[in-house]
Symmetry: D3
Subunit: 238 residues, 6 copies
Amino acid sequence: MRPYGRALNALRPVEIIPGASAYAEGSCLIKFGGTHVLCAASVEEAVPAWLRGKGQGWVTAEYGMLPRATHQRTRREAAQGKQSGRTLEIQRLIGRSLRAVTDLKALGERQVTVDCDVIQADGGTRTAAITGAFVALKLACRYLVEEGVLERDPVYGQVAAVSCGLVAGTARLDLEYEEDRVAEADANFVLDAAGGVIEIQMTAEDKPVPEAAFMELLALAKAGIADLCAMQGKALGS
Amino acid sequence: MRPYGRALNALRPVEIIPGASAYAEGSCLIKFGGTHVLCAASVEEAVPAWLRGKGQGWVTAEYGMLPRATHQRTRREAAQGKQSGRTLEIQRLIGRSLRAVTDLKALGERQVTVDCDVIQADGGTRTAAITGAFVALKLACRYLVEEGVLERDPVYGQVAAVSCGLVAGTARLDLEYEEDRVAEADANFVLDAAGGVIEIQMTAEDKPVPEAAFMELLALAKAGIADLCAMQGKALGS
Amino acid sequence: MRPYGRALNALRPVEIIPGASAYAEGSCLIKFGGTHVLCAASVEEAVPAWLRGKGQGWVTAEYGMLPRATHQRTRREAAQGKQSGRTLEIQRLIGRSLRAVTDLKALGERQVTVDCDVIQADGGTRTAAITGAFVALKLACRYLVEEGVLERDPVYGQVAAVSCGLVAGTARLDLEYEEDRVAEADANFVLDAAGGVIEIQMTAEDKPVPEAAFMELLALAKAGIADLCAMQGKALGS
Amino acid sequence: MRPYGRALNALRPVEIIPGASAYAEGSCLIKFGGTHVLCAASVEEAVPAWLRGKGQGWVTAEYGMLPRATHQRTRREAAQGKQSGRTLEIQRLIGRSLRAVTDLKALGERQVTVDCDVIQADGGTRTAAITGAFVALKLACRYLVEEGVLERDPVYGQVAAVSCGLVAGTARLDLEYEEDRVAEADANFVLDAAGGVIEIQMTAEDKPVPEAAFMELLALAKAGIADLCAMQGKALGS
Amino acid sequence: MRPYGRALNALRPVEIIPGASAYAEGSCLIKFGGTHVLCAASVEEAVPAWLRGKGQGWVTAEYGMLPRATHQRTRREAAQGKQSGRTLEIQRLIGRSLRAVTDLKALGERQVTVDCDVIQADGGTRTAAITGAFVALKLACRYLVEEGVLERDPVYGQVAAVSCGLVAGTARLDLEYEEDRVAEADANFVLDAAGGVIEIQMTAEDKPVPEAAFMELLALAKAGIADLCAMQGKALGS
Amino acid sequence: MRPYGRALNALRPVEIIPGASAYAEGSCLIKFGGTHVLCAASVEEAVPAWLRGKGQGWVTAEYGMLPRATHQRTRREAAQGKQSGRTLEIQRLIGRSLRAVTDLKALGERQVTVDCDVIQADGGTRTAAITGAFVALKLACRYLVEEGVLERDPVYGQVAAVSCGLVAGTARLDLEYEEDRVAEADANFVLDAAGGVIEIQMTAEDKPVPEAAFMELLALAKAGIADLCAMQGKALGS
């Protein structure tokens, strides 16, 4: 039996609290069980230097983790003087996922940066971050429309993400830390509300895994992401 | 009239929520009005290299601020590759304040690191951090005693902190951001429960201020810190 | 018609030249068309600090690109003072891929570092690097067996990698730079000789792509990797 | 008895040698006993980016210490790749102190940087630096007036600084290194010639100290700074 | 007898392969025996900020070494976060050598960067790099003339370089690694085709060497560089 | 006529003040006209990690320049986060020069670090630094002998250095800044008291120079260094 008494194909209890940041143009606190991520979207009326004058905007993300978000304290990246390869990898992934559902020309020459900061980590922080970042981005764009800055919402799609893994040969949805630690394979899926593929990443931990196992993980993810999209919709009041 | 309808010598509403972190040996979320700081104490069974073999422990602190804790987004220190002078200054201050009420020999050869991460910032983040860090440290040491690691609590004193400032020539307790922005002088006081002085820092913003004004700020701080100590006591259930 | 007159499901001309480095314990120069990567495996009789005393070895990789390997000169990472997120991501991927076919206990307390340096880049550098790194690692381990350092070869599997992509809605194997630049989706597959999955990464560029398209890419990759494994075998003289 | 045969409320022998740098627009070598600091003010006809177009100037300071200024050699910050928290704290303090007596609008869109480099350190380097930096700044501004660049001197006040401390329960003025090492509390005062407060910093070393002790330190500082202001005046020939 | 059966005043077998890079405006692979350096010249239609608007161009060089170019693996500079003092010294030397034979005004407001990357190292990498970098620069400028960007070739001279050393008291030309390791003195000469001096660097390893020994090294170098200039001419087809 | 009314083959007025640092084991302030360098030798009872257990010591040097040592302020290296290529080059040169006259085995397993800090710069800082560093090293070793740490002085030779240059086609000894700025060639010579060669560096500025010119510079240097050695001897009281 898995913690929370859940089935192999069940998500952990998910909670999305919009407006969790007092100052951000769009924000939410998202919880996948014991994994809590604060997602805050900031709008800036300028684009990075390499995009200037091209008549389009940019959406990007930054990812961080509080040192004691984890079971054991991890070193603070700011004190170490650099972001780890893992951090850079995750924030690039979040940014790509958001841009895949945004019309950057419709955004105009402005940038939205979504900060995803892990307050507490119990597995699946990157997929929770993507799912929450979408809500924060959507709220920020809605704010820009309400303020009259934009005529229409440039976010035309809906994106969510979930992790799956093989534990003791069995496919499971939405791994928590204790499962992730012993998984034979770990996969992250980023899909849109219609099941379109935005990003797939699968890693075998110790040795190769059969293609059929990968297919099982993909099937679990599709169902899980459909549920997450419904929860995003509810949090967005639509 | 000040926001929250408070008097010049009143604190903002203060809330201290112990146990806010699922994994830390001691923690709290502290709120001074709109300023929210998560304080998490981590115990490590080792001391820094320069203290090895000296038969004593160490207490230190790290400070950080989420990029969108502030009205305008600030750049992420991890992405910039270094902690700012302001950050280093604050975390050194927190560490000194905690060590001033701790018997490092009684702690034994172990280190407690208190991470103070500002989730939302509305002025006074360093004084809120010190006040909350004390609670986190105390809870971590209590845990060490309960676990039988330590025979007695090495934290023999109680420390809290508050900011005061001169706004339009008038002394005020516990400035929030909009007051701080226009203050002629800004001071931080770190005192113990008996009014003993641990740290005083006063800075005139534009031009020197009279000594009498400084004395008024000190008087406000003493009363405010007495109140904060009471609230710490309540949060600690003592 | 694609350059080299090749079909949509054809690899570019592949060449694997073993022993390309005069000093490395194992090495090859691998060419996927205009993409040339020098792979050199170095054996060190020590493991990283976090592995000491655990009775096992480690296999890791580093990736770099000469500044003028590319159509336009890119800035030298050593001069910039850090490796890019892309570089870190790629070298982590190469390392994981090699470890998935290696028995680290059988390697003993030593480390093999495989340096993959791109001399010329025309798309698919990371998949060429993985395919060549396997050959370099295998040769280094064979050398350790011949020298009597190891009793048996700790590399028990065979790994190769290829990229695939959707260009104008059509799935293609082994993209070169001009194709990659305009692809709607870009995927990297790392499989073993038996078709077991080691790593899958797919990224949609602008908008989500149908699951069926992903399946086509996977099918192309399986055939391409089988061919690459045969070429590795030939280069290894087995 | 204290070294130099001085009383508890006496400064060490102080010497201020104006014009110690051949090239700087204003400079002095200041000695507080065995503590020697070279202060050199450089004028630049530009302000930092964030101040451009605001019709005002900027005064800032940098602080450094020669590696063998100290009893034991300390590591060179340039070789370590960063300035320590202590260095950043001190140079921020010097800059604030100077700005508190300068009319930045009257300075016009130019910047004065005062480099304070410790040639020899025997306690109290930051207070000697502030006291000398004022002289260097004043000389640089006088030069700008003499050259016709400025119509009037933008430095309207006079600032000096001194350290005080509690040693064996007794308040002492202007600690040297051997006293500082054993002090129970250490304070730095930055006042203007009229006794106005610019900056106060007090730190208890091991445990809290009574408020009355702090008041004694403040009284000592006021007298000491009045003497230092007289010596600055003499060095400036006014 | 020296390796390659060569006399004390003989160069190692030298090979210069022009056009070794597919994309660079000018390039060659140069081999001095077992030392192989890839030299690639990149033209950029802009000059560094400090040269803008001065009506002249710039020629600069960067130097790197693959980690396993050497007998033992060396650490990757990009991973260490900085270029070593040795690397900086060498690339400054290459740049100065090239500028000494180039009319920077005739180059116009553009920059040529010559990347010298050591693929394999067996002593004398910096002198091989200078000799090859000249060929790459010359080819790039010829390309600019052919493309009509420049009216005439701004490279008016010819530069080559060689190392010499004292081994067991005897002067030798063009040291390889095993000789260099035991040399009593090591010198690098950069001369033009007419024997004009561009750069001389001599270093005694353990103790001073007689002036006469230095003169012998200089004589060897003059003859060796004349030969290298002839080989450059042949590679350039002139 | 040159400044100081000196002839083409004359040194600037030279002054060597031994014992200029209160704490260093050996030190001097050396002046070559307007160039002033503080040289301080620090003894440490340990060697760098790579030398441990080899039964020998190490002599090394670090070089720095105060930001306003120069006519125009230069940026502080500590604030920039790294030492420039020029700084690294110079400190490596000083260290090599000192080691060339020291018996490292006789020094035992200890390290002497000579800090050379330029207080004022008017050309020739590196040669003044070498000449002064020798005096500081010698005094430190004499101290070690007097203290009974060493039985005999491990510094068996004597080293000094001077710059020479071609200005308007004429060879000159010991260039100052205004001459250096316009020189056609610039050379630094490091010789021992007997004229033995330790290091020679010559750089043509714009175009190659005749070998004969180099020979003139060498002749000037030999005479100048003989004079400098005499002055070192006097400063050392021998």
